[in-house]
């Protein structure tokens, strides 16, 4: 990797430059030389933000925002490669906070902490860590960061890579995942879906939202699914070496994965099912109050050691 001298600018130069436009907009250009593993915090009250990992030891924030928006960057000495820096993009009004687009380039191995109000976030090519927090926008992460924490109140969260460590939370937004080493996802009423990819450890939980698990289990994988009333749909390969322990308080269990029939639960209510396929090994625990649990056969196979 190489540093980009152009971006090793002093903090004093890193301010929003006015940009004449019919829509009363201005350009933003902030930059700083950094280490390859820089830790970056960005508070941004703008419309949309794209984060892109690049093969340079520098950070650059560029884009177009409404006039009056202030952008600032704080780092150490301007001639040094910063190990950590903070950036703020502040809007004078709520309306201006919903407009504009920013692109943040960071070293691939950077650790990025990003908090916004209603922006849609889109992250590509970052292999370090991501801590993303948005109230009303969506979060989309492409690629395989080492770790991801993504929280949105009512926006959707989509992680299409396979982080080693992942925590995703929403209140009403949907969460879509594509496997990972250690996954935790929680929602009140959104849908949580794992769609392909390999899963080593996972805990998915909802209050009323649907839980849908359709990923490949690694050997000795451990998966927990828990809901109050959301339907739970689990798709497993017939070749899976897995134990499933499922129970509901009042809900039904429909097992199409093995021939084991669910039993009636405590005091004649709800259902329980303990079944396994192959030699066992992977462990799936499913708990539901009244949501229906369905086990189906998928074409996904168990991943070898």
């Amino acid at each position: 990797m190489r540093a980009v001298p152009l971006l090793a600018v002093a903090v004093a130069l890193a301010s929003a430059a006015p940009f004449a436009s019919a829509h009363a907009q201005q350009k933003v250009l902030l930059g700083h030389a950094t280490t390859s593993t820089v830790s970056l915090k960005l508070f941004a009250a703008v419309g949309d933000i794209r984060v892109v990992g690049w093969d340079r030891d520098s950070v650059e924030l560029s884009g177009v925002v409404p006039t009056g928006v202030k952008a600032q960057l704080y780092a150490g000495a301007p001639d040094e490669h910063a190990k950590g820096l903070k950036m703020f993009v502040e809007s004078p009004t709520e309306q201006s906070g919903r407009e504009g687009t920013l692109v943040l380039h960071v070293p691939r191995a950077a650790r990025v902490w990003l908090k916004t109000g209603s922006a849609d976030m889109d992250v590509t090519g970052v292999t370090g860590g991501l801590d993303l927090n948005v109230v009303g926008g969506s979060i989309t992460v492409h690629g395989n960061p080492k770790e991801v924490r993504a929280e949105s109140m009512d926006g959707n969260v989509i992680i299409d890579g396979s982080p080693e460590w992942l925590r995703a939370k929403t209140a009403t937004g949907d969460i879509t995942l594509h496997g990972g080493g250690d996954i935790g996802a929680s929602t009140i009423s959104g849908t949580i879906r794992t769609n392909g990819g390999d899963v080593e450890r996972a805990k998915l939980e909802s209050t009323t939202g649907t839980l849908s698990f359709a990923s490949v289990l690694t050997r000795n994988a451990s998966v927990e699914l828990e809901t109050h009333s959301g339907p739970i749909d689990i798709q497993l390969s017939l070749k899976s070496d897995a134990d499933v322990d499922a129970s509901t308080i009042t809900g039904a269990i429909d097992n199409q994965w093995t021939r084991t029939r669910p039993a009636t639960g405590r005091e004649g209510r709800g259902m329980t099912l303990q079944t396994s396929s192959g030699m066992g090994g992977a462990h799936i625990v499913v708990r539901s109050f009244k949501g229906t649990i369905q086990l189906r056969t998928s074409k996904l196979s168990l991943k070898g050691p």
């Binding site: 109000g117 009403t172 009140i188 828990e226 322990d245």
Partner: protein, 228 residues
Amino acid sequence: MTDHLSFERLCDLADSALAPAAEESARAHLRTCEQCASRLSAISALAASTAALPQEIAPPEGLWQDIRKDLEPRDAIRRRSRAWPIRHLAAAAVVIAAASSALTALVLRGTNSDATTRSETASAPTTTSTPVQPTPAELPARLASAEHGFTRSVDALQRTLDERRDSLAPSTIATVERSVRIADSAIAEAREALARDPANHALAALFASNYERKIDLLRRATELAPRT
């Protein structure tokens, strides 16, 4: 001998965490495999040594004096709490988190679990100051007490959120309130079922999870408040 039991499987066996069929199969293997039997015996030896560890270690001299210097008078704490709600919230977060998980433990204690946890069994003989296991007759009162703790955490967060309501966007407030109503409805349903079947471990866990998700939602909402 091929296809040895994995270390994880042996640990699960030692912890009585295997399903009956899996346990029987593992024990059958152990009868014919010295290597696995020996590894299981090492795991058991470690468990025995761990159980024999002292529960107390004398704190360093002078620690109490240092703590004593940091204790503020009660009324000063109350004044500070009123003057600095944000700082208070940060301190309270630790306590609320502590209370929340302690309450979950309280809800789960005394219920029936297929895989009995170590906290309910192995630690009991070596514990000197924890309470004795509750009898089933105590459970309803215990659950009510635990729920009271949850609701106090909820109330504390709700008050903080109300204080910052003006700084939140109306759409955010609507989302939070809608989600709280959903959580409350689930809690009510689980509570009713738990009152009928207070020894049901799975039900108790679902009941506690509903509260924890609600508390987590409110906590996140209070953290959003200053900037949204």
